[in-house]
Amino acid sequence: MFQLFQKKQALKKSIVGINQRNAELVYQYNQRKDYKLADDKVLTKEILHQHQIACAETYAVIERMGDLLSGWQSVQHYQKIAIKPANGSGGGGIKILKKNAQNKWMSSGKKIDDSQILQHMANILMGVYSLGGRDRVLIECCIEPHPFFHEIYPAGVPDFRVILLNDVPILSMLRVPTDQSDGKANLHQGGLGIGIDMLKGELTQGYDGKSYYDSHPDSKSQIKGKKIPFWNELLLLSMETSKAFPLNYLGIDIVLDKDLGPLIMEINVRPGLGIQLVNQKGIKEAIQEHKQFSTVLS
């Protein structure tokens, strides 16, 4: 009984729960009117472009059904594109298209007709991926993952998540796909979260929602102690981004492109709490390590 109580106390000291995250971080540090800057990828990219912060190049934004066809035709000269709902969440509705040798569009290894693509984009506009509201289609350059990622797991696009408070990075992780996650890196879709030693710029251990690993459970590639390329640039980029936005508590997703280096993927006002599990370190604990934040959380 007493042990349980002690455990609870230890947990309370270290972990931030959903209630506290919302009440004392999300609501306190972000203004409601600014949420859309993070929730809407088109708005996010406008700000990123304004501040000349590195991110995937925007090829087209489609707002109306009537513009679907012309929008689609305007991107035909590219070899590889990503189609996204501006207001999607959890990676829903994202389609990666590549041209094959015959110059035909392919999606996840299968041929795809123009009509199917237009249908998908129409669905995005109708709000299928944004809880019923109207939405916009974002077509952008498709990232080529840095070889560093393929050493860990050979498929999909892994990304870094950095949580910042008042423009200071406090906790971060790397998310990689697994055999179960079907190319997706999100934790709740079966992706593997990997903790990061932020001072050394090294990976620590992987966590799949059940147990911890020193090497990737599918590819068996060593994780622990692996150096992250461009780590300092990556951190600087996250801070620069955080400064560009009026949001003061946010999670920033960053990818490493083969040629372009660190690029901002998206921004979250309500970053998930699983990062605490991945790092085996509570957000409260992480915040308190920075002296200037000693009074942030009750």
Binding site: I15, G17, I18, N19, A23, G90, G127, V128, Q189, G282
Partner: protein, 519 residues
């Protein structure tokens, strides 16, 4: 402390204290009475009999018991349909009996009927401790110690079981409780057959009549006068089943026990008492075509002498809004509070935050069991339809239309099945909030696709749990009366929710999630 904080604290304090004053004032001014809190329930009951008879060599008759006025029940507006029968109403020691009798023959189907309004009050009896097992038994109670055809209290097995259950240390109350517990634990089965006490003991399974007879026999075997009581459990339905429970004689009082439905020294308000003793509810001339049905409808009515000043009682009293409708509005705040508590403190998730509150509302008419059955059926139908629709890449709104039609058709089908089997509960499934349900079910189908079956099922189970709690709230008559009498309590609910809204503690489910980190 910041001003913002001060204003918040003062608001919460005021919302708590002002209603508390009002409550205290009401308590001292006679507002806290049973009538004030418990709306009385009235049932309109019709006995419907159908018969035709040819080539009879004796009189044609149908006899049945009708309820009498007692402290437990009040009978009003009694009427009967005689057709060409002579009707006699007779008060016997067993109960009040109505008889239709005729010398005529009826080759065509005759409908005979009687109906009345029943108002019931639940009765709770106190069982005192330390009463001696042997009590003084008046002459007129003696017959209730003797064995009868179906209550074989003189049988060796019954006597042995009774001796097993009751030791020399037991007083009257603990003896009755021991017998009750034993009979209660016998597995219940659905059967319309007559089961006697001995068969129940040997087979260890029985419906109401077997259990009540066994309870009675075990009591009698230990010298406690006991009898079975025949009646009908009232609920909105068309049914044929009657019910049997037991009564034991304790110090000049007959104490009710229902070992099937778990009522110990308690008689629910909807248990209509008809006759005392082991008899049949209906007796009639043999060799005629005969069918019967009880048609029961529930009405909430209001006691005449409630205090309506400074309360909401004017709504049902003057505006005539039925309590059944009113309660759905009155109790929604409590259900929402419950949802907030379960979500923010415990961490239970559900499809759509307040969907459980709405579903519980819809289940009010048809019961939780059929209600959740409907929910599961709808979810299954939608998930099934969702698969091809998704594959064909249908746009969201048209997809929902197809799903709604699927849900409508499946609910109509269940209703049709309900009508076929004469099950009125099943057939009122149509009144489910179809659109809300369909949207929830669509989200379920999408959860399957996005997060896998396990997550989706878990979410569905948690939704049902929250719904169940909300359903319990809606079924608590006391709460309806309480909020009608003390609407100021809503202010306290707001205060409570303000506090929950500021509570930043770790949700109970999160303790489990984050256990890894500390261990």
């Amino acid at each position: 402390m910041t001003t913002n904080r001060k204003v918040f604290n003062t608001t919460v304090l005021l919302l708590m204290i002002v209603p508390l004053f009002l409550l205290t004032w009401k308590m001292y001014n006679g507002y806290f009475t049973a009538q004030q809190f418990l709306p009385e329930t009235t049932y309109q009951v019709d006995y419907n009999f159908e018969l035709n008879a040819k080539d009879l060599d004796k009189d044609l008759f149908v006899k049945t018991y009708i309820p009498q006025n007692t402290p437990h029940q009040k009978i009003e507006n009694f009427v009967y349909k005689a057709n060409d029968f002579n009707v006699n109403i007779d008060k016997t020691p067993i109960g009040k009996q109505i008889e239709w009798r005729s010398e005529q023959e009826f080759p065509n189907t005759q409908h005979i009927q009687c109906s009345f309004a029943y108002t019931g009050k639940s009765l709770q009896y106190d069982l005192a401790n330390n009463l001696p097992l042997q009590q003084i038994i008046p002459e007129e109670v003696r017959p209730y110690l003797e064995a009868s055809e179906f209550i074989q209290s003189d049988n060796m097995h019954i006597i042995r079981k009774a001796n097993d259950l009751i030791t020399a240390d037991d007083d009257l109350t603990s003896a009755l409780k021991n017998i009750y517990k034993y009979v209660r634990l016998i597995p219940a089965i659905q059967t319309n057959e007559l089961t006697d006490a001995l068969t129940t003991l040997e087979k260890r399974s029985a419906s109401c009549n077997g259990k009540s007879r066994l309870f009675t026999a075990l009591c009698r075997a230990k010298g406690i006068p006991a009898r079975v009581v025949g009646g009908i459990i009232l609920q909105t339905a068309q049914k044929k089943t009657s019910h049997l429970w037991a009564e034991a004689y304790v110090q000049g009082q007959w104490i009710p026990f229902d070992a099937l439905n778990g009522h110990l020294a308690y008689l629910p308000s909807n248990y209509m008492e008809l006759y005392k003793g082991d008899y049949f509810l209906i007796s009639r001339t043999a060799n005629i075509d005969f069918d019967y049905q009880y048609h029961i409808r529930k009405h909430e009515t209001i006691a005449q002498n409630v205090k309506s000043d400074y309360t909401l009682w004017a709504l049902p009293l003057q505006a005539g809004i039925p309590i059944d409708v009113l309660k759905l509005i009155l109790l929604l705040p409590i259900c929402s509070l419950l949802v907030a508590l379960l979500k923010n403190v415990i961490g239970i998730k559900s499809f759509g935050v307040f969907l459980p509150a709405i579903m519980a509302m819809a289940m009010d008419g048809i019961g939780f069991l059929y209600g959740s059955l409907a929910f599961v059926v709808v979810v299954a139908v939608v998930s099934f339809l969702h698969y091809p629709l998704n594959k064909w890449g249908l746009l969201y709104t048209p997809k929902l239309v197809v799903l709604i039609i699927g849900v409508v058709l499946s609910l109509l089908l269940t209703t049709y099945i309900g009508i076929q089997f004469n099950n009125i509960t099943l057939s009122s499934m149509v009144f489910f909030p179809i659109i809300v349900l369909t949207i929830a079910a669509e989200r379920f189908a999408r959860t399957i696709v996005e997060d896998g079956m396990e997550d989706a099922l878990q979410l569905q189970a948690q939704t049902l749990v929250v719904t169940f709690f909300c359903y319990l709230v809606y079924n608590c008559d006391f709460l309806t009366g309480f909020f009608l009498t003390c609407p100021e309590v809503y202010a306290m609910i707001i205060a409570l929710v303000l506090l929950i809204g500021q509570w930043i503690g770790i949700r109970i489910s999160e303790y489990r999630r984050f256990e890894w980190v500390v261990s």
